[in-house]
Amino acid sequence: MGRGEVVPEQVRVDHGQIDDLVREAVRDVDPSLLDWTLSLSPRERLRACSNAAVALGKYRFGSPSPR
């Protein structure tokens, strides 16, 4: 599946009230990121998420205050 090839209408289940803005944004999802996460086991995904959250938190909480 390449970038821009996802057609949300192909999803066969009823997803309730998903508006057009959200559906359009599906085309902007980077498929290589999905390839990477899907190559991991579920628990590896959890660990990757926690590691990323901690790393991002260091930027948020660890950066000096703007003067």
Binding site: V6, H15, I18, V22, L38, R43, S50, A52, A53
Partner: protein, 162 residues
């Protein structure tokens, strides 16, 4: 010592499941388990509200030094009465924030959600998670900014499923 701001999702889930706690992972961690490359700082689960399961859950919570993180009740320890109720118990643990939801916003609890789950297993943990279609529906219903952010990713993941 202060508890961490970010949940160690894997360690929390392993601690709960190894103790035999029956639960369903929902929220951001469920999105991650399904393959969404997103971050979340807490673990949201819906636990089974039986006296036996709550007893197992309380034992794990004690080992994790869990306390209520609501500003109105800081330091309050979770109780069986709270976990058998219908509220949302937002806890701080030594493995990070843990939200124990007795029921979802639509009042569905463990028993009602059970048919809408899938099980992911490896050699150490068996994780029951809300299935992808139900998670998408839930996020669409909630429709908060953070739900709208993750929805396109969940839909892209869904489009890859047979």
């Amino acid at each position: 010592m202060a508890h961490p701001r970010h949940a160690d999702l894997d360690a929390l889930i392993v601690a709960l499941t190894e103790a035999g706690v029956e639960l369903i992972v929902v929220g951001g961690a469920a999105a991650v388990l399904h393959g969404a490359p997103v971050t979340t700082v807490d673990l949201d689960v819906v636990h089974r509200r039986t006296p036996e399961n709550v007893e197992r859950l309380l034992a794990v919570l004690a080992a994790l030094e869990s306390t209520c993180r609501a500003p109105t009740n800081p330091g309050l320890r979770p109780t069986a009465e709270l976990l058998l109720g219908r509220g949302q118990n937002l806890l701080s643990t030594k493995l990070g924030p843990l939200d124990l939801l007795c029921v979802l916003h639509d009042q569905r609890g463990y028993e009602e959600l059970l048919p809408r789950t899938e099980v992911m297993t490896d050699e150490r943990a068996t994780i029951r998670v809300l299935d992808l279609d139900s998670l998408i529906k839930l996020k669409a219903e909630m429709n908060r900014a953070k739900d709208r952010l993750v929805l396109p990713i969940l839909l892209a993941l869904r489009a890859r499923k047979p």
